[in-house]
């Protein structure tokens, strides 16, 4: 009889083995090599260097630059861009006619479903000097410029908004549908204008969705690599080099696996922090 719980748990084994070997394993390994001077070439043995990699990082201007750019990228594209635009799309859709709603939803979701690299190329074409954006600006007789060179972080942030907004739109559409019609109608009868209704009724009622959406967007944005890689390779110079690209460059172009992993560990820690907050917000009944 005492074996029963074990036999019952048996089907968990394949998943557990995979998760331990290929997910928990690398994370543990990450936590180890972040404290060594492991290199890709040259020295055969690596040695334990304690917090040296982290000290190096916080003195390294390139690292601080990557932290700053990651912050800018996350705030611009996820907190402001995807989140606000997603809410705007969702609330406009509630009032719009059905064909317009379906059309807009289809277009925004297509941008989301496209593979990361394809999205990167499309936005690369859009922002290039000879690209669509400048063609439109020329048409409007506005000054054009080489966006990927002058404002690379803005261009990749816009790309991330283009690609990621559908998720927020879907989250907010679902959340707005949950608000009882009577409440908004009552407020309308009482003469509350659009903005006041948004601030005093809609936003408080969907605050949990806002929380979870912000968390998931942020986590998603923290790990964007392919999109930026395709559009700018982190350049020009390091002007769009966010932490994942910095990590990659240190580990492979500069062959400093230990240092690159220390950066990865920091990224993982920030991610875990957000993940814990997300679970708190969700307060799910498991």
């Amino acid at each position: 009889m005492s074996l029963r719980p074990l036999t019952r748990a048996l089907p968990l084994t394949p998943a557990l083995v995979l998760l331990l070997l290929f997910l928990a394993g690398p994370i543990a390994y990450c936590a180890w090599i972040a404290f060594t001077d492991l290199q890709l070439t040259g020295q055969a043995e690596s040695s334990f260097v304690g917090f040296e990699n982290f000290r190096t990082a916080f003195r390294d201007e390139e690292f601080l630059n990557a932290v700053w750019l990651t912050l800018v990228f996350t705030v611009l594209s996820s907190l402001i861009g995807q989140n606000t635009l997603g809410l705007a799309l969702a609330s406009l859709m509630r009032r719009a006619s059905k064909p317009v709603r379906t059309l807009t939803g289809g277009i925004v979701i297509t941008a989301w479903v496209l593979p990361e690299v394809v999205a990167g190329f499309l936005l690369y074409a859009f922002f290039r000097r000879e690209g669509t954006l400048n063609a439109i600006l020329d048409l409007l007789r506005l000054p054009s410029q080489n966006w990927l060179f002058t404002l690379p972080i803005l261009a990749v942030s816009f790309a991330n908004v283009w690609r990621g907004t559908a998720f927020s739109m879907l989250v907010y559409s679902a959340a707005l549908n949950e608000i009882p019609k009577e409440i908004t109608e009552a407020a309308e009868v009482d003469g509350a204008g659009g903005l006041r209704r948004l601030w005093h009724i809609t936003l408080p009622m969907i605050r949990r969705s806002i929380g979870t959406n912000l968390m998931l967007n942020t986590l998603q944005t923290l790990s964007v690599f392919g999109l930026i890689w395709v559009m700018t390779r982190g350049g020009p110079g390091d002007r769009s080099q966010t932490l994942p690209l910095f990590m990659y460059e240190q580990a492979f172009q500069n062959s400093m696996i230990g240092y690159g992993t220390a950066v990865a560990l920091l990224l993982l820690l920030v991610g875990s922090l957000f993940s814990v907050v997300y679970m708190r917000l969700l307060r799910t009944e498991v």
């Binding site: 394949p14 997910l23 859709m93 709603r101 859009f126 679902a174 923290l222 790990s223 690599f225 875990s272």
Partner: protein, 275 residues
């Protein structure tokens, strides 16, 4: 309908159409350029239509081998993910145990970890255990990276299948595996389909994992081989790049359309954003 409501509807329609056209421009570029004999980087009405770009890319080297690689990689990874997730979800959904809650919380925690961050250590690990540049190694990692979310979704779907239906089978002497494969999984067919498609779409579009773990050009999936259009010196054939992008993206768009309705529009929402 009152005038006021009609005006509001018109305003909403206009606003949405403006936003939609901003989203549409890059998409329009890829479709128009793929058919335009003189494609460049701008969205413009083609001065004639051609299928030359598609003909040029539909070769073994450019399209078929990378797509086949993608299919092997993502098909293998998806199959492994779905089988492991279905097996793992069963005890979590059916039996009470003190360990369920901590396990599920860990899984939920893992679903939101930035996998990008661990690619450097995974690379270092794969070099040590000789899994680098192998299809099976990449498949195993793909499966592991999708498993947390797949288990989470699968468990939620499985909870929707009433227990009573299984009890009859148990009295007839069926074991857990039999009741899982003969009763529970068939009853949650749409849920299994959602998990399968989700895992497949995520892997199909993933660039960083194969980019790091595979080295031999013949093994590259489409997500990485698409870089070839840029890597070679000289002019980029934008028409061909656009045509390839369309061929490569079509399967996931079709799959998305197939399951989109199952979870009320966004399948990523199931389980993840119940708030």
């Amino acid at each position: 309908m009152s005038d006021r409501r009609r005006n509001r509807r018109l305003a909403a329609d206009a606003g949405l159409l403006v936003l939609a056209s901003t989203f549409l421009l890059p998409l329009a570029w890829v479709v128009l350029s793929a058919l335009d004999p003189h494609a460049d980087l701008r969205v413009k009405v083609p001065d004639g239509l051609t299928t030359a770009h598609f003909e040029a890319i539909l070769t073994e080297d450019i399209t078929f081998t990378p797509l086949l690689n993608s299919l092997l990689l993502c098909g293998g990874g998806t199959a492994l993910t779905v089988v492991c997730a279905a097996l793992a979800a069963y005890p979590l959904s059916r039996f009470r145990s003190r360990l369920n809650r901590p396990f599920l919380l860990t899984i939920l925690f893992a679903t939101s970890l930035p996998i990008t961050a661990i690619m450097v250590p995974v690379y270092a690990l794969f070099v040590q255990v000789d899994l680098i540049d192998t299809l099976q190694g990449t498949i195993l990692f793909f499966a592991a990276s999708q498993l947390p979310f797949a288990i989470w979704l699968m468990k939620n779907f499985m909870d929707g299948v009433p227990r009573e239906l299984e009890e009859a089978a148990w009295t007839d002497g069926a074991n857990s595996l039999q009741s899982l494969t003969r009763i529970v999984l068939p009853l949650m067919g749409p849920g299994v389909a959602v998990v399968t498609v989700f895992a497949f779409v995520m892997m199909w579009g993933n660039f960083f994992v194969p980019f790091m773990l595979l080295l031999t050009p013949d093994q590259m999936p489409a997500s990485v081989s698409i870089n070839e259009f840029f890597g070679n010196r000289g002019m980029v054939a934008y028409g061909q790049l656009a045509a390839f992008s369309i061929v490569y993206s079509t399967p996931v768009i079709l799959l998305y359309v197939l399951v989109a309705r199952r979870l009320g529009g966004g399948f990523a929402l199931g389980g993840a954003v119940k708030g």
